[in-house]
Structures are given as structure tokens and as C-alpha cells.
Amino acid sequence: MNKEENIIVVENLVKKFGNFVANDNLNFEVKKGEIFGFLGANGAGKTTAIKILSGLSKPTSGKAIVAGFDVSRETDEVKKNIGYMSQRFSLYDDLTVKENFRFYGGIYRLSNKEIREKTEFMLNKLGMTDYRDMLLKKIPLGWKQKLAFSVAGMHDPAVVFLDEPTGGVDPITRRQFWEMIYEKADEGTTVFVTTHYMDEAEYCQRVSIMAEGRIEALDTPAMLKKQFGVKTMDEVFVKIARV
């Protein structure tokens, strides 16, 4: 595998619900180890696209390849090769930290030994070894999100999809979370992330912005700011998304 390899390839992707076009002819690629920001207003079609890319929903037409597998035909293979976390759903509140790791490790078909090793390794890294037997619901949101990210990446997937991973998280933990993202990407995992924090758009290598089902802009943050003649990603976003 080399860094230039495309991990996500989307060609003429269309998703319709009845007459409503949720994804209108999307075309883009995401490289191995890239941090790709997937932005857009609420209702622009981001969630629909993420569901298709993670094998949970089939496109109406067009094609998407994730980690070398076709999302329409090889959904099981796609699911084995991706990780997913969101603010709304990540880990199980009524399982302990360790049980969550074991549960997800099992789903991703890791051996017991691998699960044990990964769990220890990640809890050590997060400085959370003392919390292994604590129920998830007792753990503050910021820590929970770091754990969820670790779990989403424990099977070394080709891509992790992060859907608003830092919503409501305090500003220090939010930055630590991005350090984790950088580290994961550095190991070669592609990170596909949505956020409503515009400073976080700056932390992505490339950013796409959706409006009304279409990708209206896609480039590095620096180029997007140049293209729209503005100083911040916030202003770029407002120009594109305010219809």
C-alpha cells in the first residue's frame, strides 16, 4: 500500500428517496491516511452519503468503492474494513469499558488474545487503566468519545467514519481528540470526519462542503479560503451553505 492509493472512490453517486434527491451525482476520492472533512448544512445529504459508504444503504445509481470493495455488492467486506463512531451512538452505556472493547473486538472478529492486548494498549495510552471496570454511563463525555474512537479503530480498519465526534466536548478534550485523529491517520488509516466546529475544518487535509445534495466545494482549507477570497473556513462555509 502506498500513500497515494485511493481508499474511497465515489463515481456519479446518486441516492433518491422517492422524488427527493438526497445525493446528487457525487464524485470524489479520498487517499490512504488522509484526514477528509465532510461538511455541509443539516439536511445537505452528509448522513445519507456516510450510510452508503459504510454499506448501510445502497445507492440508487453510480458507484462507490471503499477499501477496495463495492458498497452495493460487497457490503460485508466493506463493514469489516471500516470503523464508525458518532456522538449519538458509540458505545454501550450499560457495559463496562472492558466489556465494550470485548464486544466490538468480537464483532470485528479479533481473537481473545488480540482483544486483551489491544484493550490494555489503548487503556494505557488513554491513561484509563483504572476505569476498565467502570460502566460507560459513569464516564464523562470527553473520555467516552476518546474510548469510542479507540474502539472504532481497534481492528485497524482502512477507514474510520467519525460523525460529529466532538459535539459538546470541552475545548481541551476536543484538541486531544484531534491529536488522536492525527496519530491514527499517520499510521495509515483514512479518517472521514464531519463536524460543525469550523476551526476543526482547518485540521483536515482536504474538505468537501455539501449543499442540497451536491458537493459544492472540495479542496484543502488553504485553497478553499483562497478560492472564495475569505480568511476563515467559517466564511467559506457560510458562502456555500447559505442558500
Binding site: 445537505a44 459538546g168 470541552d170 481541551i172 469550523m198 476551526d199 467559517d234
Partner: protein, 306 residues
């Protein structure tokens, strides 16, 4: 038609967890007051106490001179509350939800239509639609209409913009500013630090405590120390490299395309040369170091580190 809010030495414990620790503050009539803080700061607990949905462990709250415990019935009539989680009836239509909330307060949609006209007009074409079938933005407008239907003097909005995109957030704040002109007192909570500047005054909250209360201007102007921003061609290495330069270079945080840091002791005119030359030695190029003005998030981060 606006009211004053007074909170004195308020504490709320949930078993061992101290959700609010000795919170005291006053909100003036007609103010748009923001509670800024992350999840777990105690914002929702505070709002539930003000709306009399919870009882304080100790301390007191008065709304318009009424006590939140003994006069709770009167306070509920004065208050409009939009909880963080959508809590209208999903299987009632837009119109039915509004009529239901109006009837609880012994009024009707017809009688108070003018109060919610600006907001309700935007969802009125869908008035026969079930609340469960509305989009996120429309649900928010319906919830706000329901909170306003009985002409409250105090409006309490718990994280109305969480999970809302940057453009819709701006529109929502424009709406709040417009509502404020009718004289209503508004309390609003948010985890987005950039929204602080839209409030008359804010309380910065963290782990059940208020770290600062003031106008956003005064909070940012009283930032302790000199704040700098730096940018190079290697942003990933920048954080750790900055940390190695001098003990007086503290509070090193990424801010969008730059990194912010704070100095207190170093001579002001030596800082940029010191930082630029040290970074150059470590292989950075295109180094730009300059003084910058604190934002609320800088202040929040500094307070968290204290």
C-alpha cells in the same frame, strides 16, 4: 414584561456527584444571557432548577421575586422552556402540539398567534404534519413556538444550537436577537464558545462551577498575559516544538490554521524572534509569529488550566 433572575449559593448534588457547586449570579431584566460550557458543566441541571423541575440541595433561586421552590406554580406560568432534547409529542401534528401547550396555560393559538408569528409562519405550511415527521430545523422552530405560546417573561433555551450547522446557528441567533427586542429575558446555553459574543453577558461554566461572569468584551479584554499566534509549514510538530522552547511559553493550543500560546514574563519584543529562531532550528519553514487578540475559547482554556 421582562423579569430579573437571582441565584444565590446554589448547590445540587446527585448522590455523590456535585452537579452544581455554589453558583451565584444575577440576570437583569431583558438580558440575553449565555451559559457557555461543555457537556457536564451543569447547564441543564441549572435550567431544570430554575424551571422548578428539580429541587436544589441548598441555595435559592428567585424569578421576578418569586421563589423557585415555594412559588413554583407561578414561576411555571412566567417561564418558557425549550429542553435540549426534543420533547414535544411526535404523534401529534404541528398545530395539535401548539394547541395542546396553549391549552395547558389556558390560552389558545388564536389568541397568542401574534407572539409566535415570525417563527410559526415558517412552519405553518406543514401544520397538519406530525411532529415526528419534521426535519431538525422545523422541530426546533415548533419547540420554540410552543415555549413562547403562553407569553412567558423568561425564556430558557437549553442548547438550541447543538448539532446545528454553522449557518443555521447564525440564523437562530438572529432570531433570538429579534425576540430580545420584545423585552423578554432570555437564558441560553451552548457548548459553542464562538456564540458567547452574541450574548449581552455570559457565564463560563465547567464541572458545576462558574469560572467567570461578564460581558464577552470584558472577558476577552481581561485575558491574563500576552497571546500569540504562530503558523509554520509543519503544524503537526509545532505543538511539541513550542513546548520545548521556554517555560514562559504556556497554554499552547491549536486554533484553526494557527497555534496560540501565551507568555507573561518574557519581554514582549523578544518573543517572536525567540520563537521563530527556535522553530527554524527544529526545521520549520514559513514561520509567522504575531500577537493576537483573545477569543472566548482562549479565556475558557486558560480558566480550565488554572
Amino acid at each position: 414584561m421582562s423579569v430579573k433572575l437571582e441565584i444565590q449559593e446554589l448547590n445540587k448534588d446527585f448522590e455523590k456527584v456535585k452537579a452544581l457547586k455554589n453558583v451565584s449570579l444575577k440576570v437583569e431584566p431583558g438580558e440575553l444571557f449565555g451559559f457557555i460550557g461543555p457537556d457536564g458543566a451543569g447547564k441543564t441541571t441549572l435550567f431544570r432548577l430554575i424551571t422548578s423541575l428539580l429541587l436544589p440541595t441548598s441555595g435559592s433561586i428567585s424569578v421576578d421575586g418569586l421563589d423557585c421552590v415555594s412559588d413554583f406554580k407561578k414561576i411555571r406560568n412566567l417561564t418558557g422552556y425549550m429542553p435540549g432534547r426534543f420533547s414535544l409529542y411526535l404523534d401529534l401534528t404541528v398545530e395539535e402540539n401548539l394547541n395542546f401547550y396553549a391549552s395547558i396555560f389556558k390560552t389558545s393559538l388564536k389568541e397568542n398567534y401574534h407572539l409566535i408569528k415570525d417563527i410559526y409562519e415558517q412552519i405553518e405550511p406543514f401544520k397538519k404534519r406530525k411532529a415526528g415527521d419534521l426535519s431538525g430545523g422545523m422541530k426546533q422552530k415548533l419547540a420554540l413556538s410552543c415555549a413562547l405560546i403562553h407569553k412567558p417573561k423568561l425564556l430558557i433555551l437549553d442548547e438550541p444550537t447543538t448539532g446545528v450547522d454553522a449557518v443555521s446557528r447564525k440564523e437562530f441567533w438572529e432570531l433570538l436577537k429579534k425576540m430580545q427586542k420584545t423585552g423578554i429575558t432570555i437564558l441560553v446555553s451552548t457548548p459553542y464558545m464562538d456564540e458567547a459574543s452574541l450574548c449581552d453577558r455570559v457565564a463560563l461554566m465547567q464541572k458545576g462551577e462558574i469560572m467567570a461572569v461578564d460581558t464577552p468584551e470584558i472577558i476577552v479584554n481581561s485575558y491574563a498575559g500576552r497571546l500569540w499566534e504562530v503558523k509554520t509549514n509543519n503544524m503537526f510538530a509545532l505543538l511539541s516544538n513550542l513546548n520545548e522552547i521556554n517555560d514562559d511559553i504556556r497554554l499552547i493550543f491549536r486554533f484553526g490554521e494557527t497555534v496560540h500560546f501565551t507568555t507573561t514574563k518574557l519581554e514582549e519584543d523578544t518573543v517572536s524572534t525567540l520563537v521563530a529562531s527556535s522553530l527554524k532550528e527544529k526545521g520549520h519553514e514559513n514561520i509567522v509569529v504575531k500577537k493576537t487578540v483573545a477569543q472566548i475559547e482562549d479565556c475558557f482554556l486558560a480558566l480550565m488550566e488554572e
